[in-house]
């Protein structure tokens, strides 16, 4: 076992491709834990950001600035009674959230956080992601049906119609990006997620700017379709509160309900990473072909540490600005400790960045490289996650016929046109 553990350390392949099951398992656990933590953070950030958009304070009571609110919520959901309605189809009711969760988490095995920082690299990577994430709708449909209640059923019907419609435009947008990967000497493209990022590196351009504005339009189509795919506002007709109470998960409570939430956020991260991989250069830092060499590498490797340092500084300022009443003493101390922890992480990252520079073959150098890749990937994903919140705060919900009209009569023709134009330009230009 130790030998299997050590044998992978020098490899440049993802553990799945290198055939190292132990490390693949470690990666799976790290990703699962990471996504769970991100979902907790997103829960807090979403409530807080939405509140500030609407000039409210948001959660303020549980912990300083409501920082412990997600934990309180998680505890509540775990202790809450888990009701299965009398008339519900118990087996399907039980299976539905599991289907959704499985579909949302299975796609993570091909997401490339770095050239070797993925569970595995599949030859059909993007196809696999699309296929498995399209299984997520089954969870919603079965949940709506199994509840044996009107609102969930209507929510499920809406959501399945919506997801099937937007998948088409989404697929066309993805195809035009995949087509761009074949603009090389050999003339063969790739479906592998890692291969797509490497193609962008080779061609020296993010596909967002390739054949401007074709790549950009395809990206915008995808960015709209992915919001519809994840059932987020303004496309959240499946759970429209004003019409359907809570849509397909009206009858769910407790842990099962939280599984749906977990699946929704996991799917949001997954589709964001598809967008990042296909159009935004994946794990690459900005201008990788222009700004390279040891000096630039060192500067870019400082970014993760500096980001965490900035977060720690903001938290310290927050602690300092707490009201001076004695009632807030514990909260202030807690926030200061939290800031110190973030600062410690920042310090660790900076130490790794500096240590990795001294000796290029050491473990520290590999760590620095890996942190660098994951940092830039996650930074781009984080932008999308914030956009999801921003959309929700900005736009009113679509009406169902408008939604269908936009999907079939606007997005699909545009994406088809972009696909054809990309093919023509790709043949004519080089």
């Amino acid at each position: 076992m130790l030998q299997e553990f050590m044998s992978y350390l020098g490899s440049n392949l993802p553990p799945g491709s290198a055939g190292n099951q132990l490390w693949a398992l470690i990666y799976v656990f790290v990703i699962f834990a990471g996504v769970a933590v991100i979902v907790l953070c997103m829960n807090w950030i979403e409530r807080k950001a939405l509140a500030h958009f609407q000039i409210r304070l948001g959660p303020m009571r549980v912990g300083p600035h409501g920082l412990l609110q997600p934990f309180a919520d998680a505890l509540k959901l775990m202790l809450k009674e888990d009701i299965i309605p009398d008339e519900a189809d118990a087996v399907v009711f039980w299976v539905a959230p599991v289907i959704g969760l499985l579909a949302a988490f299975t796609v993570y095995i091909v997401i490339p956080f770095g050239p070797s920082q993925a569970v595995t690299d599949m030859n059909i990577g993007i196809l696999f992601m699309l296929g498995v994430s399209s299984l997520g709708v089954l969870g919603i449909v079965t949940a709506g049906w199994a509840s044996n209640s009107h609102y969930p059923l209507i929510g499920a019907l809406r959501s399945s119609a919506q997801m099937v419609s937007y998948e088409v435009a989404m697929g066309m947008a993805i195809l035009s990006a995949i087509m761009m990967t074949s603009m090389n000497a050999a003339g063969t493209g790739t479906l592998s997620m890692i291969g797509i990022v490497e193609a962008q590196q080779q061609q020296g351009i993010w596909f967002l700017f390739k054949f401007f504005p074709l790549g950009f339009i395809a990206f915008v189509i995808f960015a709209i379709a992915m919001v519809a795919e994840t059932n987020r506002s303004p496309f959240d007709l499946a759970e429209a509160e004003s019409e359907l109470t809570a849509g397909f998960h009206t009858e769910y409570s407790g842990l099962r309900w939280s599984l749906f939430m977990l699946a929704e956020y996991a799917a949001m991260i997954a589709v964001s990473s598809i967008a990042v991989t296909l159009w935004l250069g994946g794990w690459m830092h900005p201008f990788p072909n222009l700004l390279h060499g040891p000096a630039w590498e060192f500067i870019f490797s400082l970014f993760p540490g500096l980001t965490f340092g900035a977060l720690a500084a903001i938290t310290f300022i927050g602690a300092a600005r707490m009201p001076s009443h004695s009632f807030f003493r514990i909260q202030r101390a807690g926030l200061a400790v939290f800031a110190a922890l973030i600062g410690l992480v920042a310090l660790l990252l900076l130490v790794i960045a500096v240590a990795g520079r001294a000796n290029d073959t050491s473990i520290a150098a590999r760590f620095r490289e890996g942190i660098d890749y994951v940092y830039w990937f996650m930074l781009k994903v984080a932008v999308f996650m914030y956009l999801f919140i921003w959309y929700r705060a900005t736009w009113p919900r679509y009406r169902f016929d408008q939604l269908m009209k936009v999907g079939w009569k606007v997005m699909l023709p545009i994406s088809l046109g972009v696909l054809i134009l990309t093919a023509i330009v790709g043949v004519l230009l080089p």
Binding site: L127, S134, L138
Partner: protein
């Protein structure tokens, strides 16, 4: 570059996985035809389709496996469920089946069994043993070569493929005309 060849990793196509997937496919296939509740049948059918896609993966055909998931399990079955959910299940499950076509079904499945048996017993003569070269890494490109042709030549199956797409187009037009009252 094929990672499987480079590192000498253990192949995934072990008998254990074959029997697991085949068993799951058969079991859920039986569930499809024995459940009275149509939604349960549909869910079992999804399990069957996913197991079959796993079998494709074991045959080093990842592209077909991916398409199987995306088209059948993800697309068609969602539409199936969509339609079934609109049917009043309770009434349907109490009603007796009124069609008496099981002799036809039996004959059809016997014929299919005969084909399978023939393929199983005479397979060595019918199909050539061919070494699989770089199966996983170029699978998609190979399929594209067969369907669309490569290096300036028309592919082996280009004509059949185009005919099939024409048929699909006709079917789509038919569906549009049937649902539209005035065009």
């Amino acid at each position: 570059m094929n990672p499987l060849l480079n590192t000498g990793a253990a192949p995934v196509a072990t008998p254990f996985f074959f029997y697991l997937l085949a068993g799951a496919a058969i079991l859920s296939g039986l569930l499809v035809i024995t459940r009275r509740n149509a939604v349960h049948s549909a869910l079992a059918l999804i399990v069957t389709l996913l197991s079959v896609s796993g079998l494709y993966l074991m045959l080093y055909a990842p592209f077909v496996a991916g398409v199987q998931i995306i088209v059948y399990a993800g697309g068609i079955m969602v539409l199936f469920l969509f339609v079934i959910m609109l049917v009043n299940i309770e009434r349907v499950s109490k009603e007796r089946q009124f069609n008496r076509i099981w002799p036809v079904g039996l004959a059809a499945s016997c014929a299919l069994l005969a084909v399978f048996l023939a393929a199983f017993t005479k397979g060595k003569d019918l199909f050539h043993d061919r070494p699989i070269t770089l199966p996983e890494s170029t699978n998609t490109q190979q399929i594209a070569g067969y369907l669309y042709g490569e290096a300036g030549r028309i592919g082996q199956y280009t004509f059949a493929f185009e005919i099939a797409s024409l048929l699909l187009l006709v079917a789509i037009l038919g569906a549009v005309i049937m649902t539209k009252k005035k065009i």
